[in-house]
Amino acid sequence: MFKSTERPSTSRRTFLQRMAISGLAVGPGGGLLAACATGGGGDEEPDAAQGTETPAEGDPDNPLGVDAEGEVEIWIFNGGFTDKYATDVHEPILQAKYPNLTINHNAAVDIGAELQARFVAGDPPDFVNNSGDGQMDTAQLVADEQLADLTPLLDAPSWDDPNVKVRDLLVPGTVELGTFSGKPYQLNYAFTLFGLWYNKTLFDENGWNTQPRTWDEMLELCAEIQEFGLAPWVYQGETAPRYMNWPLLSMAIKQAGPDIMVPVDNLEEGAWKQEPILQAAEAIYRLAENGYFMPGIEGMDFRDVQALWAQGEAAIVPSGSWLENEEADVIAEDPAFELAYMFEPLLDESTAVLPLEALRATAGEPYFIPADAKHPQAGMEYMRAMISKEGAEGFSNEVSSLTATTFDIEIRNPGLASANEAKNAAGENTYNWFYPSWYPTMENPGIDQVTRKLLLAEVNPEQWADECEAVAKSIREDDSIPKQTR
């Protein structure tokens, strides 16, 4: 019934031989194709960035030399902000000035997937909002000489007032943030500020102090709120105790100046034991000692905590200016609810280096012009239109975020309006620190978990500083982590 046969070795051998032959036959062709696919595009056209037209010098109406009859290809990241702010706010501003300019608007969720191949082929668009999960590495693009220098834009007269340069309408630090290897390549247009947020409705009803000037006043306020029967403070639960680092380090900076964070960012030994940082930790520790944090939040998700705060169960929460947007659904449930910004109080008013009205801020949402763009002047002109009063106001009201511009604008959302007032009050007194972006694992889980213990009063400020030092040490001694300094 069964019959064993030889293995089909002959047929396999002939099969492999045929494979080899056909492989050979296709081989050179394949190589040719490869050459086509990787070598295409770039060599056929001259560098468009060094285009034939030079900007008409001194033309105040068209300082960048836009071809008014030309075309501009714009790519916007379709994420949290969507692309409506471009189609409804910025592009109409540009179109109004150049009625015959063809605006080729594109939106994408994955910017890299859409555009990376075009950069490689030397055929990128004129304006890119490089954001989202598919964000291309800006530093690498700069290293590959793919981006246009934005200096002409920054030195151009501004959209609204020819006597003011574009550069002077940007919040201090914005240009530096977009500067790589000494040249500005990236415009960070959105603006995030960090601080304390209070339930304005509740504060107004009870006549509470909406801006304690010193930490002692803050503690008095907390006692009053606790007596009233509310939790004075919350933080972001088990998800992110590190949010409390922000007021902590902010208070240290206001006391001693932004330079106090330089040793921290540079991972220097003893950085976390500097006196102002210890003082600030002591201040935060007092909240824990006095039971001013809402009980039980240490086991909660951050959205749940923030919802409790928005529902009036707690008075003060640390966060960034995205908070109003993040909790929009909860806020919408109570039309009377308003939130407002509160500066972190000073530790010692008599010796503080910065005024009370100073805050931590970062510019975000990157935009750039590709070096190989066909009409880079129009891309830059579009940026110039964004940095107009109308552009900034439209953006803020459309996407509920501030901009990195210094215009005095009207904002509808109460929380964002209050953040905008704070931004204007702070003026040049903004600061930031970098270790969380340089060493993400140092901030989380590192310092995050140490601060959690401080907030639970499981460690005192000295022990907290010791443990922070240990976290910094582990990062410092890990050779696999590339180090940054400032």
Partner: protein, 319 residues
């Protein structure tokens, strides 16, 4: 007429070869070329520079890559063996495992239903499987299926007594050593159904009278399975094994979605496919990504050849 044969054959082969050349061979050739360059993936094609074996030297020093290699090796051993054993067992139960009046050789009761049910995982795309299993292994308060069930029967209570206050739950994704095994479980789960169907088809083609003869000779079920069913479907097993081995070298989508681009806590769930992706898109180093890709290609080819050789066995012909 003989000399007229070749133009005719070529006319039919050319379009296929062209498509194959453009979409298969040319990407291979390009990837191999990129592995010898410094291309970031963002630079202009015209600026690509040849740097020799630099990327391959870096490969030797890459510790994270060793983790990925180890994990692919674990998958390579575990996934095919376990999947094939389970699939063979289930398929034989469905087709020849039952005994019924009037039919000596048949499937177990309800086998028609099982056949459909086993096929379900295959209907789901990998992305959905990955998201589903995220919820299976999540902590109980985040809706984790496994932990909710195990807590309900008191596992958390026991663990809390052993490990102390508030630690009464196994955090599957929090334990680096578990990660690759979670991936293995998910892969096995999603592949078994397909091979049950494949083996069922193979078993259906075995003549019934062989089984009846074995039955008359008093062969036990296990003996029938081992000495009859398995040898007669061995060719299918062999092909399946190679296919699963190739799949085990991949696992990209599952790891990327379940554990993230860094391969989970401590990077301990990393696999080569994710390392390629990370190099190309997180680190903007397309050349290095291509280098890992070449390594992956060589490994997959070597493993395929190895399996083909190792699994060679006298073919049985039914006559």
């Amino acid at each position: 007429m003989r000399h007229r044969k070749y133009p005719f054959v070529l006319a039919f082969l050319a379009p296929g070869l062209l498509v194959y050349g453009i979409f298969m061979l040319s990407p291979y050739a390009q990837a191999i070329w990129f592995s010898f360059t410094d291309w970031s993936g963002l630079g202009r094609a015209t600026d690509i520079e040849f740097i020799g074996f630099g990327n391959y030297l870096r490969l030797l020093d890459d510790e994270q890559l060793r983790v990925a290699l180890r994990n692919n090796f674990i998958l390579l051993i575990v996934v095919p063996v376990v999947t094939l054993l389970i699939a063979l067992f289930l398929a034989s139960m469905l087709n020849v495992g039952g005994r019924r009046r009037g039919a000596a050789v048949t499937g177990v009761r309800g086998s028609a239903v099982y056949k459909v049910v086993y096929f379900f995982p295959l209907v789901l795309s990998t992305a959905i499987v990955a998201v589903l299993f995220n919820y299976v292994f999540a902590p109980a308060r985040a809706g984790g299926v496994l932990n909710t069930i195990s807590n309900a029967i008191g596992v958390d209570w026991v663990l809390e007594r052993i490990r102390g206050e508030g630690r009464g739950e196994i955090l599957w994704f929090g334990e680096p050593a578990f990660l690759i095994w979670i991936i293995a479980v998910v892969m096995i789960w999603s592949f078994v159904g397909f091979f049950v169907v494949v083996f069922s088809a193979a078993m259906q083609s075995i003549p019934r009278d062989i089984y009846e003869a074995a039955l008359l000779d008093g062969s036990s079920r296990f003996n029938t399975f081992r000495r009859l069913t398995v040898p007669l479907v061995w060719d299918t097993v062999k092909v399946s094994w190679v296919y699963l081995a190739i799949q085990a070298m991949d696992a990209f989508a599952l790891v990327h979605i379940i554990l993230g681009v860094n391969g989970g806590p401590d990077g301990q769930g990393d696999v080569l496919g994710v390392a390629v992706y990370r190099a190309a898109f997180a680190e903007s180093n397309a050349a290095y990504a291509a280098t890992i890709g070449v390594l992956l290609l060589l490994l997959t080819m070597a493993i395929t050849l190895m399996f083909m050789r190792a699994l060679r066995r006298e073919r049985v012909e039914l006559a």
